[in-house]
Symmetry: C2
Subunit: 477 residues, 2 copies
């Protein structure tokens, strides 16, 4: 395809995208397709010949759009916000259009150095000290695997360069809580620690925050048993309830025992753009690694996960390779991001953040985050004030965990499996309607509904409407 | 940014991209910036306020473009081709514009099912059997880490679910060659095997292919020592010289000993679109996993790395998590790609392949690949026919490894460090000129130059011009 053919098609595509974004509020929030429906709408064999671009656009409308759960919809309250701010989309389009290759500084100096610059801007915007150095990963999951490997290699004196983890003198152990994201247990398993060596430290039964005393006791037990405490993963805004582990107290323990501390702030990192929220990760400066996702609430389009470490020399010692075919005269003077993570090649992801910050502006992003915090507090007050409704966890950010307990006010509350069935029934009736979407989660083995506020287009009016839907559905269920 | 503001800015950006792509042949191939120049051209502090979009475009021209090594330039012959075909760029733009979220089938059924479909199309287009099931990773490096973890868990009877690799009864061992990509050794280290347990099996001194007899002997030695052979990584188109390990012979050995066989065809996978090339990976059907990058020679924009396995149940057993907040009614009926790799969230990458195949067409892609193979053979013949020039390895695909040895024809060939200095000098004079770019590599400890043909815009005339540059530069060095 020539640049001029591209020009013509891309202009059509841009109009299609702008129209699509405009009509999102009219679409069903949850995709209304059955399993296999999209696949069956497509040929089982690869195309022969070529298609006109108009046919592709028609297929986007016919096949793809009905198969999208609209996470940009103002009535989307599922999972966590996954905003794709159009300012950041422009940066992503620029990245695609230029077709650069990030495999070394030399292959695209601008890619490397803009990434250094925007990661440092984000460091400043979240109030982190100058000792932190950042890079962009695809997801916080990948960042966590990297952190676990960094911890493993520190605790094993670089076993990777020798006989490997399999020659470990004593089991290495990782500490977290049951609230931690599923990617934490996965990272512990992928890094080779083994699930038996993941300790789920006791939590406070209301805040769901890790109890520092329980952590210290668990570490002492492991030391007494001859095990090697290697890493602690501290959740700042855990998935189910946005629970906040007490970073400062945990960091003191981590430092006392020389344990790698990784802070998983995938969700809550966006809140750190607001100075009034930074107390929520007080102590973070003492951690060893830190990840959070601008591609969630802040809204720089996926995949934009920031990963910061303090000890770059350790990071590079663990992750670097230096093959002859990638050497250049600039080596030693420049950052080689291939030595900061798992993949060798990288896209020009920094453009997304650069465009987002410059076009939308920090002030507007902050104002939007504050709006969402206000909406969450307002919503929680409505739920708390309503008969037979419960807010199940502290509203630390923009997610409100709720449950409808019929009969509670009359002293005969629904419970057990019947309560679960009721919760899932009223939720499903809303999700199936397409008018709004929320996702459930288990808390102490019982289903609850997470109302996660924070889509760019979600105003107070949308939240108000959601609360009406919820009350009506629960009454009818 | 509203959809209408986006529309206006994006149209400007599309024209900028089309113009940029048109002028690439006039730009310096290698970025002409000093280390730190891009960083210094940008503010050290994050922006306050907002910028007009015009200012962003001006900064792309002023700051970014001079810092790009033009891998889409027809005179780019460095590393491996990294084509970003504009048809695939359109698919990438559609992905960005829609702002979907891939964390489960339910979060975007179309994302999951289109990925299933295009991976299966690519399976058919490369002549693979129906037992292969594919997904899209960011890079072959990540795919290799995944493969090494799959092998580790098979050989250790799922140590991840128990005491981890650290409790391994006996060292697990991985086999590859010195020609294998740097990501292989990195993957072995990251997966926890330890570098001591990576065996670099002897190669044929001319083809650089793994010697099956040497592999079998190495395995027998390990077995006799009580070690556990866990994985073999077979390179199909290794980086330095596109060496081809004999897959069939290796697969027979792998199967005899029950060892996981991963085929790294990152580069050569594109060639398998041509039936006449498929003998190069004869035996691949017996491997356990397989990765290749359409984002290289084939030209679907980075990041598009295909990863195929035969045993999906094993893949999911190793990589899956099932947190309550991601469960849905579709579970069990659908593919959950989060359980096929490291990251949880994913972009809608399948669109890139879908657009590329449908808009450019398989015929045109195949014709271009054959053109490049022809050009490589033509170029190799010129080098072979020229006095004091050598082609150092068989031209298996589109990469020609060359060296100029002054004095060879007169019986007093330059050698040793002086030859290295000469090689790097004539190469650097071309790269510095900006008129063309190639990258060097070590072969048997001596520098050579890799001429890697295959940029979409590279015609015979560009290759002819390169050969003139090379001869002139070598004569002057």
């Amino acid at each position: 395809m020539s640049p001029d053919e591209f020009r013509k098609a891309a202009h059509e595509l841009i109009d299609w995208i702008a129209d699509y974004r405009q009509k999102i509020p009219e679409l069903s929030v949850r995709a209304q397709v059955e399993p296999g429906a999209v696949r069956r709408a497509l040929p089982a064999s690869p195309p022969t010949g070529t298609d006109d671009f108009g046919l592709l656009l028609a297929d986007l409308d016919r096949v793809i759009v009905p198969g999208i759960t609209q996470v940009q919809h103002p009535m989307h309250f599922g999972w966590f916000p996954s905003n794709a701010a159009l300012a950041s989309v422009l940066g992503d389009i620029a990245s695609s259009g230029m077709g650069t290759l990030g495999i070394s500084w030399e292959s695209c100096p601008a890619l490397t150095e803009l990434e250094e610059v925007v990661c440092d801007w984000m460091r400043q915007l979240t109030g982190l000290g100058e000792q932190w150095h950042g890079t962009i990963h695809d997801t916080a999951s990948t960042a966590c695997v990297t952190a676990m490997i960094l911890a493993r290699e520190r605790a094993s004196q670089f076993s990777k360069n020798g006989a490997g983890l399999q020659a470990a003198a004593a089991p290495m152990v990782v500490y977290s809580t049951a609230q931690a994201h599923s990617s934490i247990a996965k990272a512990v398993q992928l890094a080779g620690f083994g699930n038996d060596n993941l300790r789920l430290v006791d939590e406070d039964p209301y805040t769901r925050a890790m109890l520092p005393g329980a952590l210290a006791a668990a570490i002492e037990r492991d030391l007494a048993a001859g095990n090697v405490p290697a890493a602690i993963v501290c959740s700042v805004g855990a998935t189910a309830t946005t629970a906040m582990d007490p970073v400062e107290a945990i960091a003191i323990i981590a430092n006392r025992y020389g344990i790698w501390l990784h802070v998983d702030a995938a969700m809550a990192g966006s809140a750190m753009l607001l100075p009034e929220c930074r107390h929520l990760w007080q102590g973070v400066e003492q951690a060893d690694s830190l990840a959070w996702n601008p591609h969630k609430w802040m809204g720089t389009i996926l995949d934009t996960a920031l990963f910061y470490v303090r000890d770059v020399a350790h990071l590079e010692a663990v992750m670097s390779t230096n093959p002859s075919y990638l050497r250049s005269g600039a080596d030693g003077q420049v950052t080689q991001y291939r030595d900061w993570g798992i993949p060798l090649g990288r896209r020009f992801r920094a453009l997304k953040l650069w465009f987002h910050l410059r076009l939308d502006g920090v002030d507007a992003i902050q104002a939007r985050l504050r709006r969402d915090l206000d909406n969450a507090r307002w919503f929680a007050r409505q739920v708390e004030a309503a008969e037979d409704w419960e807010v199940l966890a502290p509203v630390m950010l923009q997610t409100v965990c709720i449950r409808h307990v019929p009969g509670q006010s009359s002293g005969t509350p629904l419970s057990g499996a019947a309560l679960d069935a009721h919760t899932l029934a009223w939720l499903e009736s809303i999700n199936t309607s397409g008018a709004a979407f929320m996702s459930p989660s288990l808390l102490d083995g019982r289903w609850m509904v997470r109302v996660s506020i924070g889509v760019e287009g979600t105003t107070r009016e949308h939240v108000r409407r959601l609360w009406e839907f919820i009350q009506r559905s629960a009454a009818a269920a």
